[in-house]
Symmetry: C2
Subunit: 267 residues, 2 copies
């Protein structure tokens, strides 16, 4: 799985123009474009390999391309001057990222890092602009995509402002499970190499707290917390944690001291 040859093979897989076109056809943004145009586009993508940990682009660099992930996993990150970082999105195959250039920004507002060896297809920003102006269906799709992302971002703002860490973490896991979950005998495995640190940066907390919380859930049998990997055993349990800070639902095993009251509510 983390075979060193993987990226090369993956690249080969997407090198062929008509295969690339097939990939494009699965992407919401491009889906509605006419077949011939799709092929023409596919030919314009420049493939780019990235090994684990490689930086695809850096915050502040000129944003002259739109990036489509063909294979692998990417995290999109924003940094504070003092070095702390925040994970804005996690990208899987078939998703686009680093689109700033497409929507008229001169520089990337965030950094992209490969979580695993990855293959990225890059489309020149101008091509994107041209599409936008000539293909109404494309314009509509872009607007919808952006709208959806904006809504998501706003939802996250709400969460960060009103919800406790534990709940945010539970939600983060659920979201990740939905996005990159694969059923295994043990439960739903999140197929992303996310360290506790990453999880913390994604859910808005610290390494220590994330680790502590996951450990608790592990002991309670809700998840299996492995090294840079999490398996969700009881989605329902997580769900409960994510919704109400239900004082009891959580840990049938632990029973524990049991949070005495819905920690912070109302007004």
């Amino acid at each position: 799985m983390s075979d060193a040859q993987a990226p090369a093979r993956a690249a080969a897989r997407h090198w062929n123009v008509s295969q690339r076109a097939a990939l494009l056809a699965t992407v919401r943004l491009f889906r509605e474009l006419p077949e011939p145009l799709l092929h023409q586009l596919a030919a314009q993508f420049r493939p780019k390999l990235a090994e684990r940990g490689a930086i695809l682009f850096l915050e502040g660099e000129p944003a002259d391309a739109l990036n489509l992930l063909a294979a692998g996993r990417i995290k999109v990150v924003r940094e504070t001057d003092d070095g702390r970082e925040v994970i804005l999105r996690v990208i899987g195959p078939g998703e686009i990222f680093g689109c700033a250039g497409g929507w008229g920004e001169p520089i990337y507002p965030a950094t992209a890092v490969a979580l695993t060896a990855s293959v990225v297809l890059q489309l020149p920003a101008q091509t994107f602009q041209a599409l936008l102006e000539t293909q109404p269906a494309f314009a509509r799709a872009v607007v919808q995509e952006l709208g959806a992302r904006l809504r998501e971002a706003e939802a996250r703002i709400r969460e960060l402002q009103t919800e406790r860490v534990e709940r945010r973490l539970a939600r983060a896991l659920l979201r990740l499970a939905q996005k990159a979950g694969v059923a295994t005998p043990e439960g739903i495995e999140i197929t992303l190499p996310l360290t506790r640190q990453d999880l913390a940066e994604f859910a808005g907390t610290t390494l220590s707290t994330a680790s502590r919380t996951l450990s608790t859930w592990d002991r309670a049998g809700i998840i299996a917390a492995r090294r840079a990997r999490v398996i969700v055993r009881q989605p329902a349990g997580l769900q409960a944690l994510a919704e109400a800070a239900a004082p009891d639902t959580a840990a049938p095993t632990s029973g524990g001291p049991a949070r005495r009251l819905p920690p912070t509510v109302r007004r």
Copy 2:
């Protein structure tokens, strides 16, 4: 200023189609449209009055229109089930809001409330869609607008995750001052009737903390904290608070206990 007739007068001011067209021409989204189209559009807007506190639309309602604020002030809010709310945006004249319908969402994802008596011009979502498909320049503008907002939202996420309340509050004030600030002999007055509660909901904290913090700054002479109103006296002071949690820069007057060290940094 909070004259009961104000909305009616304001409405009258924007009733006239060519005046509305003039307003449209100041809005980034519409600016690039050809003159005749602008007039045609202006005629399609339905004006709507709202008094202070009125709800323009509710989260969950069908989003069949795009809203343009002609006069007044609006806050866009999202609520938690337990009644807490978060202010997502504050809208001034010439800004659009409640655009969900435009970008393909069936329902409003947030609620809009008039902070002062306001006049809103509503454009049917279909018209918007039609523009999007027929006017490339419009499509480009929409994409840019959305991109900018998305970036802003992501910046806010970063702030919420990495910054302390005090700093977030300082930033919020600065942003508001920039957006709705008017120079007065006392300083830059933020011409928005925002209560401490509102400020808290905007900066991601609680009423108590917001109040306490503003009081401190008031005593230090950095701002003048009035009832539902804030005047920024020393923008530089706020700036300092917003950037580094500078232990000293803050309050030349108070001197105070002086935060002992940059509270939380690094890693």
